[in-house]
């Protein structure tokens, strides 16, 4: 089995988010980048498949050279090879198109992406990728077992779980539940040393115009002061919810 984990490089959740150039660009000063958490769950699940069932594990990203530390970490965790498509991932369609090229030429049986990236939260890449490849697709995946060319996937649905049977080749949009937080791999020294020798292939992107372009970012308005309403004055509460909070 040959597995590809798609990795998006995202700001650490503790980062302070700021914009520059008149609110048209994300300010990366002092921001630490990490493997997108949804992808990290997928990467660990892929490591288990590799270790227990024997699989070749590649990781791919669409990004500039600045994302290489994230790829090196994935190699230190245990991926066999890394591929970087050398381009800014300017929108979901562009990203999916680049990844589709990697998948087509790589002979993969299983592609593990994340349900969404925690930076732009598009949630589009895995679905578009599946459509481009015409592969089976399971999103919001919280469990995955592979037996030969059969796959059993568990999905999170409103208030419950859904178990599906499907066949390889398959793309999943994974999330927490594939493995738990305490299962996430911390690279060990042997892994870090071995990562020095592993291949990180840089590929040119397929030429295409992005479909969308960001023109403006806006931060949520700061939270106002809490207003306390006397329990005897429910009319005032309803009035505030209606006129000020516009919640009802």
């Amino acid at each position: 089995m040959k597995i590809l984990v798609c990795i998006s490089n995202v700001p650490d959740t503790t980062s302070k988010i700021n914009f520059t150039a008149d609110n048209t660009a994300f300010d990366t000063t002092g921001v630490q980048f990490v493997i997108n958490p949804n992808d990290e769950f997928g990467l660990t699940r892929a490591m288990w498949l590799k270790e227990k069932q024997g699989a070749t594990l590649h990781v791919a990203t669409v990004g500039t050279a600045a994302v290489e530390p994230t790829m090196r970490k994935a190699l230190a965790i245990g991926a066999d090879e890394a591929i970087r498509i050398n381009a800014e991932p300017t929108d979901g369609l562009f990203t999916a198109r680049q990844l589709a090229e990697v998948v087509k030429n790589g002979g993969y049986d299983l592609v593990i992406a994340g349900r969404e990236s925690i930076d732009y939260n598009g949630g589009m890449v895995p679905g578009m990728l599946a459509a481009m490849l015409d592969w089976n697709f399971v999103n919001t995946c919280i469990g995955l077992e592979i037996d030969g060319d059969k796959a059993t996937a568990v999905r999170e649905i409103d208030g419950g779980k859904e178990t599906l049977e499907t066949k390889l080749p398959l793309i999943i949009g994974g999330q927490k539940g594939l493995v738990e937080e305490s299962d996430l791999r911390i690279p060990n020294m042997r892994g870090i040393m071995m990562a020095r020798q592993k291949t990180l292939t840089v590929m040119d992107p397929v030429d295409m115009e992005p479909g969308t372009r960001d023109t403006q970012y806006e931060k949520p308005a700061p939270k106002g002061d809490v207003k306390l309403v006397d329990p005897g004055n429910l009319d005032q509460l309803i009035d505030l919810l209606h006129k000020e909070a516009k919640a009802i």
Binding site: G30, P69, R72, A76, M189, R196
Partner: protein
């Protein structure tokens, strides 16, 4: 114990000076400390017990002999990586860092630097994997700052050496599988010997009731006519310079480690000051608290620069003993002062085990004493700049 919310301060964007691999090594150690050390360490410290369960993890993150070449089981990393690992471990606890320092710089280093190829092959891989733990016996009851006066002795008995004497204040001694022991031969020359647990006449009683480094085991080494095989003598170097060479390496690690303890205290105090309200506003809004916090981050930043430059010099093999003394002395003192100030920022909460500050503060009282006291390091700088030793 509160959850570990640590966010590392980097006021001067020093991360830009680190390589990709430095950061990978540092972040791995940091994640491991958050996962494996922070949740358990307070409990072990309160019970004054060494957390045996973390030995395997320490080995995994490369804390045992990070700069020892790969062929002997080490990680073959540079000195800055070694420093960063020590920083992250001490961010968790100075006692855990002590265990790692001793294993790396005081046990593996002398075997690597002064041992035979046979000794390296026999001991280093097991020490790197944590399968065997070691300790370092230099200090004696009557010879601390003046180790050259030691009285532990060995005599050549033809097919073995006969070792007699006692060492005190030895980190890891109660559970160590082997000890690198410094003793004088019949001519009064200091040599290193590897003494193994189980040798007849060798015992390691534990020192109890410490208020500091409570999660690290400290004890004695007692040699009562111990027969040490001749192949256990480290032949590569003798004289006081041999153990002092090991101390250079360990002190360098401490200069980084102390930054970790200071960062943890600062980070805790900063978060607390922003959350805790008195007189209707966060205590962080009062000038007196800002002064403390501002001075802490200033001192941490200076210490980081000192350690980083020293790391470059060490990588080039140019760091002098006196330069290392300056960094050890400055950074440990800086960390201890920050711990005391940070503890006050937390008011009454600062004295409880809910937060790590008081534990760091008590730990640092040992760190400022061992590996050369605060005073002795000052005298080393003094002797270096004046050319006149004020020791004796």
């Amino acid at each position: 114990m509160k959850p570990d919310l640590f966010e590392s301060p980097d006021y001067y964007n020093l991360d830009d000076l680190l390589s990709e691999e430095h950061k990978l090594v540092r972040d791995a150690a940091r994640s491991w400390v958050k996962r494996a050390v922070s949740p358990i360490i307070e409990d072990y410290a309160q019970r004054a017990e060494f957390p045996n369960e973390i030995i395997a993890g320490l080995a995994e993150i490369g804390a045992f002999g990070p700069y020892i070449p790969e062929e002997y089981g080490g990680a073959g990393l540079d000195q800055i990586s070694y420093g960063l690992i020590m920083q992250e471990i001490e961010r968790g606890d100075s006692g855990v860092r002590s265990t790692a320092s001793v294993q790396s710089s005081l046990v593996m280093y002398p075997i690597f630097a002064y041992g035979t190829e046979e000794q390296r092959k026999r001991f280093l891989p097991d020490l790197a994997s944590g399968k065997k733990m070691g300790c370092f016996g230099l200090t004696e009851p009557d010879h601390g700052s003046n180790p050259g006066g030691m009285v532990t002795r060995f005599a050549d008995k033809g097919d073995h050496y006969l070792l007699n004497g006692a060492k005190l204040w030895i980190s890891n001694s109660p559970f160590a599988d082997l000890a690198v022991v410094w003793a004088k031969n019949e001519e009064g020359r200091i040599h290193g010997l590897i003494v193994e647990r189980g040798m007849e006449g060798f015992s390691t009683p534990e020192t109890h009731n410490k208020w500091s480094l409570r999660a690290s085991a400290t004890g004695e080494l007692i040699f009562d006519n111990v027969k040490v095989p001749k192949e256990n003598l480290l032949p590569g170097k003798n004289g006081l310079g041999a153990p002092l060479g090991c101390l250079d390496s360990a002190r360098y690690g401490i200069a980084w480690g102390a930054i970790g303890a200071a960062m943890d205290c600062y980070d805790t105090a900063l978060r607390y000051a922003k959350e805790r309200s008195q007189f209707g506003k966060p205590i962080a809004s009062f000038q007196l608290q800002q002064k403390k916090l501002a001075e802490m981050i200033t001192e941490i930043t200076k210490a980081q620069l000192l350690a980083f430059r020293l790391g470059q010099l060490k990588n080039e093999g140019r760091a002098t003993t006196a330069q290392i003394s300056m960094a050890k002395r400055n950074n440990v003192d800086m960390a201890l002062k920050i711990a005391r100030e940070a503890r006050q920022v937390l008011g009454g909460m600062g004295i409880t085990g809910e937060y790590s500050i008081m534990r760091h503060m008590m730990n640092l009282e040992s760190v400022i004493t061992y590996e050369g006291t605060h005073d002795i390091h000052l005298l080393i700088t003094g002797a270096d700049i004046t050319g006149i030793s004020a020791f004796k």
